[in-house]
Amino acid sequence: MFITTLWLSLAGQMQPIDAGEYRPLYLKADTPYVQVQSFQLDAAPVTNQAYFEFVQAQTKWQKQNVPSIFAEHNYLQHWLLQNGQYQPSQHQLNTPVTNVSWFAAQAYCQAQGKVLPTVDQWEYVALASEHQANGSIEGDFHQKILAWYSKPTPTQLPEIMQNPANYWGVYDMHGLVWEWTLDFNSALVNGESRNDASLDAKLFCGAGAASSADPKDYAAFMRFGFRSSLQAHFTSSNLGFRCAAATNYSKD
């Protein structure tokens, strides 16, 4: 029933990410960089096909079985009911799975011995352009990312890995879908480490830009804004995910 190509198996593969540091946008220009330990990250977002295989193995995550506290009713709404089962259509197989809640994404990763990446891990990898770990020093880096943010969602999402990988060999950090992170709402639940810069100020008024590390990093503002609008049972037609793991993780 499913074509398993070399290319698809690549999709489930992970890329090693070296330790390093980056400066999250919500910190002031004179606050220190955040250290990111080395880890591994899925080379691409999880596809509908991979997610379908998961719900076949763990039937409690099938659309008809999920309690609404774990995923709202739009969960997997783009799949069709066929032979008593919700499943992706043929042309959705290699596109990123969306309409999944945080609980569902986390369960998927756990089933493989992985976890969702933290915001810091995700942002650190997302900072890379095709050729450099820190792409933000390239002139049109942010403008390119913004261009996607300001396009409406297409009715049919493109397939994964259609654009060049970034410096880490990771695909589609930008330009395909939003992605869940492990601590997407930590900014809301604990206000620690943010000192005098409250998240509200970031999200609801222009003042936010004054205390951010790079006021031109509108793209990062938008990701933080998007994440903070979410709750763990929410699903959205342009929100998918990928998984992360420790450096010593290896697929059995």
Partner: protein, 461 residues
């Protein structure tokens, strides 16, 4: 900190008197621009339910130019909201499931932290409901306040909410809704295709488009505002910004009353009123004579080169006592604003042949004529005649030279349409005039030909 702010908002919302339950409930009538909901006739407060949907979709910015507008209710500016002082508002904001962005709404009519922004923060495919009481009458801007605010506003997320005073506003014959906004596109003004938002230009405050109601031409041609001689017209004018302040003016009219900045203060006999970004003004005037009255931002390059131009078309009997269309000196000119010297920009070189004349002429056209006659020479119906396929132009080259040298006013017939408007004299030298006319004659479907500098010199007197 976060918690403290949330508590603050909750307190403000709860501060609404709890007699709210006993208020009669009604659904607000919302209108897309340029229309305004009818005046409120009830003389008691009500609980008004408002439902607005945020959308992200491709729309027209100018002919051939598209833009991904983010909006309240699918229009830029967003739906006009009309409530009465003392009303309790129950506001539901829904974010369309296809949206990429979360959105919220900051209503300047709300007193409370963030004007509702925190309680209305809404993820794609979700809705938020919050309540507030409108205490202060006036005309207020609402806008999205999600980070980065500038981008949400620059993409069109603003509109107006009118809080009518308890006794209402004086009765008028017509009301319209006009909001100015500045837009920042990757491509220059007029560059075709879907244009992405340009953050650099936005930060530098260098817009490519400054327009009324979200697009070039949204208030011209058959979309012009209309009225009749003898009527009084009220405009609810807003400015979404995000950056520019508007010098709002109607060419050929004087505002009888201006509710300064949308508040209580009423000024009379005003020519141009300032509308701050994130602010408003209410203006009204009685129409004494027929004709086309042109709405502009009197920072006039914005009107003629960036799109901030609308038309109020007034029909009815002429009153020669008030306005005599025939006397050139009684006419309000846009101060020769379109008269630009090409001077320093272009080195003084003489065209050696017809092809060069056409090339040089194009520059002259773009710098001096295009603002009125438009990029493809198509003109603007009712205001500026076409120079494309123009029978008037092709019929008599010497006459066309005189039009540029001396200007033109009074009724002229171009391609069967009568124009009764004013073209100012253009300060160009003989060579430039020869080039621009040669350019026109050989473009835009005109009949060809060539005009020489000598020919132009012969028409000077």
């Amino acid at each position: 900190m976060k918690l403290a702010m949330l508590v603050g908002v909750a307190a403000a919302v709860l501060a609404v008197p709890l007699n709210a339950k006993s208020l009669p409930v009604e659904k607000a009538t919302l209108t897309a621009p340029p229309m305004v909901p009818p005046p409120i006739t009830r003389n008691y407060p009500a609980k008004v339910q408002i439902h607005l949907e945020t959308q992200e979709k491709v729309g027209r910015m100018a002919d051939g130019v598209e833009y991904v507008f983010w909006s309240f209710g699918g229009s830029v500016p967003g739906s006009f909201i009309r409530v009465r002082e003392g009303d309790e508002v129950e506001f539901t904001l829904s974010n369309h499931p296809s949206s990429k962005m979360p959105h919220n709404i900051d209503l300047h009519a709300v007193t409370g932290p963030g004007g509702g922004a925190v309680s209305s923060f809404t993820s794609p495919g979700h809705s938020s409901t919050f309540s507030f009481q409108v205490i202060n009458p006036g005309l207020y801007v609402y806008h999205c306040a999600t980070a980065p605010v500038g981008m949400h506003v620059a993409n069109g997320m603003y509109g107006l909410i009118l809080v009518e005073p308890k006794d209402g506003l004086p009765k008028v014959d017509r009301e319209y809704y006009v909001v100015q906004g500045d837009f920042y596109t990757k491509g220059a003004y007029g560059e075709a295709g879907v244009q992405p938002f340009d953050m650099e230009k936005a930060i530098k405050e260098q817009p490519d488009y400054v327009v009324f109601n979200g697009a070039v031409g949204s208030l011209t041609g058959d979309k012009a505002l209309t009225a009749k001689v003898g009527e009084t017209v009220r405009l609810y004018v807003g400015n979404g910004g995000p950056n520019l302040v508007s010098s709002f003016h109607v060419i050929g009219e004087i505002f009888d009353n201006v509710y300064v900045e949308g508040g209580d203060l009423v000024n009379h006999n005003v020519q141009t009123t300032l509308v701050p970004a994130g602010g408003s003004a209410i203006v009204d005037f009685k129409l004494d004579v027929p004709g086309n009255f042109i709405l502009v931002d009197h920072s006039i390059f914005r009107a003629f080169n960036k799109g901030a131009l609308g038309i109020l078309k007034v029909e009815g009997k002429e009153d020669k006592g008030i306005y005599s269309g025939k006397q050139k000196d009684s006419v309000y000119l846009p101060e020769g604003s379109a008269v630009q010297s090409v001077g320093d920009a272009a080195p003084f070189v003489t065209a050696q042949n017809k092809a060069e004349k056409i090339r040089f002429g194009q520059r002259i056209y773009e710098a001096n004529c295009q603002a009125c006659h438009q990029a493809k020479g198509e003109g603007i119906k009712g205001a500026f005649p076409p120079v494309a396929k123009s029978d008037y132009l092709n019929a008599d080259h010497d006459r066309a030279i005189r039009v540029i040298l001396n200007g033109l006013s009074g009724a002229v017939k171009v391609n069967g349409e009568t124009y009764n408007s004013v073209m100012p004299a253009m300060q160009l030298n003989d060579m430039d005039i020869a080039n621009v006319l040669t350019y026109l004659l050989n473009n835009f479907g005109n009949k060809g030909g060539e005009v020489t500098a000598e020919q132009v010199a012969n028409q000077r007197h």
